[in-house]
Symmetry: C2
Amino acid sequence: MPYKETYPSQLLSEAVEAISSLPGVGRRSALRLALHLLKQPAENVHHFTDAIDHLRDDACYCRRCRMISDDELCSICADRSRDQRTICVVESVRDVMSIEATGQYHGVYHVLGGIISPLGGVGPSDLTIKELCERVAQLEDPSSAEIILALSGDVEGETTAFYIYRQVEASGIRVSSLARGLGFGDDLEYADTLTLGRSIVNRQEFRP
Amino acid sequence: MPYKETYPSQLLSEAVEAISSLPGVGRRSALRLALHLLKQPAENVHHFTDAIDHLRDDACYCRRCRMISDDELCSICADRSRDQRTICVVESVRDVMSIEATGQYHGVYHVLGGIISPLGGVGPSDLTIKELCERVAQLEDPSSAEIILALSGDVEGETTAFYIYRQVEASGIRVSSLARGLGFGDDLEYADTLTLGRSIVNRQEFRP
C-alpha cells in the first residue's frame, strides 16, 4: 500500500528527500534517520555533514593508481617499501581495502573505477584502462614486471580481464589472475562444478 | 570474522566514521554510501548536507503540541478548521504522520517525545506529559473536550496511557483510546487470543 506522506515541516520533508536519495535508503528509513539527527546535539550533526562535505571537496584520486587519496600520490604509491613493479588491477577502492586487509600483498594497485558492462553502458573508455597501459609503457623492462588481474569471477569480470590482457600483452609484461578454487572451510559436496573442476585442474603441491 | 579496515584516505575514513554513527548503518554500508557520495556532483552532495544542517538548525518544536515545525505553532495547531478540543496523544512525529495519512482525524495532536520505559530509563518527566496537563487545564469546559490515547498496545504503551489517564482524570476531560481488534484483511485463525478476545467483548453493531 503506498504511504501517503504528510510532513509536518518543510525542512523535515527536504531532509528526508535528500537522505532517501542515497542508494538502498527508502523514505521510511530516511525519516527515521532525519528524526534521529534532529535529536542529536547540533555539533554532532555539523561534524557529520562536515565530514561528508570535506570528503567530496578535498579527496582526490591518486594520479598513478586512481585510488581515493588525500594527496596527489596515494599512501601506497608513495610507499617506497612496496613493490612498484607488481600492479594489482581491481574494480574499486573497496577491493583495494579487501586485499590490504589480508596483509598478503606488497605491490601496488590500479583502480579501474568499474568493470566493462555492455548492458550497464560501461565501455573500456569509461574505465582507467588507458592510464593502466600508460603505466605499463613507462615501466623499465616490463617483462620482469607483473599485472595481477584481481577482478570478479563473473562474465563481466572475465571480459574486462581479457580486454586488459589484450591491451598489455604486446609489452611482454607478465599477467596473472587471482587463484580460483575452493574457499577455506568450503564443503566439497556443495561446491559448484565449475569451481571444483578448476580446483582439480589447478591442484597445488601439498605442503603440510 | 572482524574486518580490518585500512582506509586509503583519512577523509574517507572520517566520512565513514560519521555515516556509520547513524542507527542501523554498519561500517560496510557507510563505506558504500561514502563512495556513492564521492561519485556525485559536488552540488548534489552540498544540497544533501545543507538539507540536514537546515533541519537541525532551523526546525523547532510547536509550542503547543511539541511536533516538529518550521514555525512556533505547527500547521495543524494553526489550522482553525481543525477541532482544537480533541487532542490525540502520540509517542512521536512518525505516529502523527501515520494518523494524518489516514485522512480520518480532524483534531489536533500532542507529541510525548517517547514512552514511559523504566528499563529504558525514560520516566514521565522526560516526556511532555506536564505540558499536556497544562493544555488540558487551559481548556474551557474540559468535560466537553477529549483526549485520545493513541499509544502502542504493548506494556510500555499501556503504562504510559494509564499514567496520563491518572494525571488528567480530575479535570473531567473525556479520555478514549484507539480501538483494538482484528485488522482489515486479518485471518481469524491466525489472530492472537488476546486481540480476538477483545474483538468479541468490544463487538460493534453490524452496519452493512
